[in-house]
């Protein structure tokens, strides 16, 4: 349970009043809430409800499964040679080495522990691209966490505000709603939508920063003048 889980039930009634007031009476013409209402196309209550029901748990589960698959790639058994001391044997070794290196830097012949490999080198392998895909899912989950924290802080601010007291004042006839109530609803809504707008911008940044990292990895076959030939001498040493 995070901060948004704790504060959202407390703020739910206030947000419902804010949304109802904005929908029925609008906001003062020059109020800053109009900018975020147009930009986001949603009312404050719906924005909060969205982040409250989305916490990235499914993304972390998916990322864990991809990391597990990447681990399987690193232990794949591709025999590095077949003990043929000939052109055919060298050709096999070259192909096997290239296939193993494409799969995983750890699986490639002569690879070390793999812990010293940079992220760039790792992402040139299939295992590395799987990890990058898992990283992306976790980055989106982290984005949800930060967004939820931001929404929780905004809600905590408005719950303690004078505008909240105004909104909680005894019910008033809809036709004679006080101008102060409309302004209070707009102020509360603007503060909440501002947090939602920041979350949206961060989501765009995340998407922009991730471009290219999940692209299809193209296999480069070793450049050999010949593959297997049976007219060469093959020495089966064992």
């Amino acid at each position: 349970m995070d901060a948004l889980d704790r504060v959202e039930p407390v703020a739910r009634d206030l947000l419902a009043r804010v949304d109802a007031t904005l929908v029925r009476h609008g906001a003062p013409p020059d109020h800053p809430i109009w900018t975020d209402l147009r930009r986001l196309g949603t009312v404050p209550g719906d924005a909060v409800a969205f982040f409250h029901r989305t916490d990235g748990t499914d993304l972390r589960s998916a990322a864990a499964r991809l990391r597990n698959q990447a681990e399987q790639y690193t232990v794949a058994a591709i025999p590095p040679d077949v003990h043929w001391h000939s052109t055919a044997g060298e050709s096999y070794s070259a192909h096997a080495s290239a296939l193993a290196a494409h799969l995983s830097s750890e699986a490639a012949p002569g690879a070390g522990s793999g812990t010293g490999a940079g992220a760039g080198a790792d992402e040139s392998t299939m295992a590395g691209r799987l990890r990058a895909t898992a990283d992306y899912a976790e980055a989106v989950a982290d984005w949800f966490c930060r967004s939820r924290d931001g929404m929780a802080m905004a809600l905590a601010d408005v719950l303690a505000s004078a505008e909240a007291l105004t909104m909680r004042s005894p019910a008033h006839p809809e036709s004679t709603v006080a101008a102060g109530v409309v302004t209070a609803a707009a102020d509360i809504g603007a503060h909440v939508l501002s947090a939602a707008a920041m979350a949206r911008a961060a989501g765009h940044d995340l998407l922009y920063d991730s471009q290219g990292r999940l692209d299809l990895l193209v296999y480069r076959a070793p450049a050999l003048s010949q593959r297997y030939r049976f007219d060469t001498t093959i020495d089966l040493s064992r």
Partner: protein
């Protein structure tokens, strides 16, 4: 075919089959658009759908990589097996041409 070669062919075929299965499983790792916030309201939902589309591209690429590499390993196993069989046939023919002592 020698035991060494038979084992190598089997190992390549197993690794290829594992990758083919990994490719088939890839779509099962997709939590769907709602996991990325694609069901959100207004512009928040748009960001979620954009994030989801990029994830889908990545996951599809991972599936294609696994499928293609599984086929490459299987192809290498087939080539190796054919090479081993060719060598064994040549060896048998040579042995049959040897005069009995």
């Amino acid at each position: 075919m020698s035991a060494n070669l038979t084992a190598a062919v089997a190992a390549l075929r197993d690794a290829g089959a594992e990758l083919t299965e990994a490719s088939a499983r890839m779509a099962g790792h997709d939590p769907g658009p709602a996991g990325f916030g694609g069901d959100g309201p207004g512009a928040l939902g748009e960001v979620g759908r954009d994030l989801y589309r990029y994830w889908q591209l990545g996951l599809d690429a991972r599936a294609r990589e696994a499928s293609a590499h599984g086929a490459r390993l299987d192809d290498l196993a087939g080539t190796l097996s054919a090479a081993g069989s060719g060598y064994a046939s040549a060896e048998d023919s040579a042995r049959q041409r040897q005069p009995e002592e």
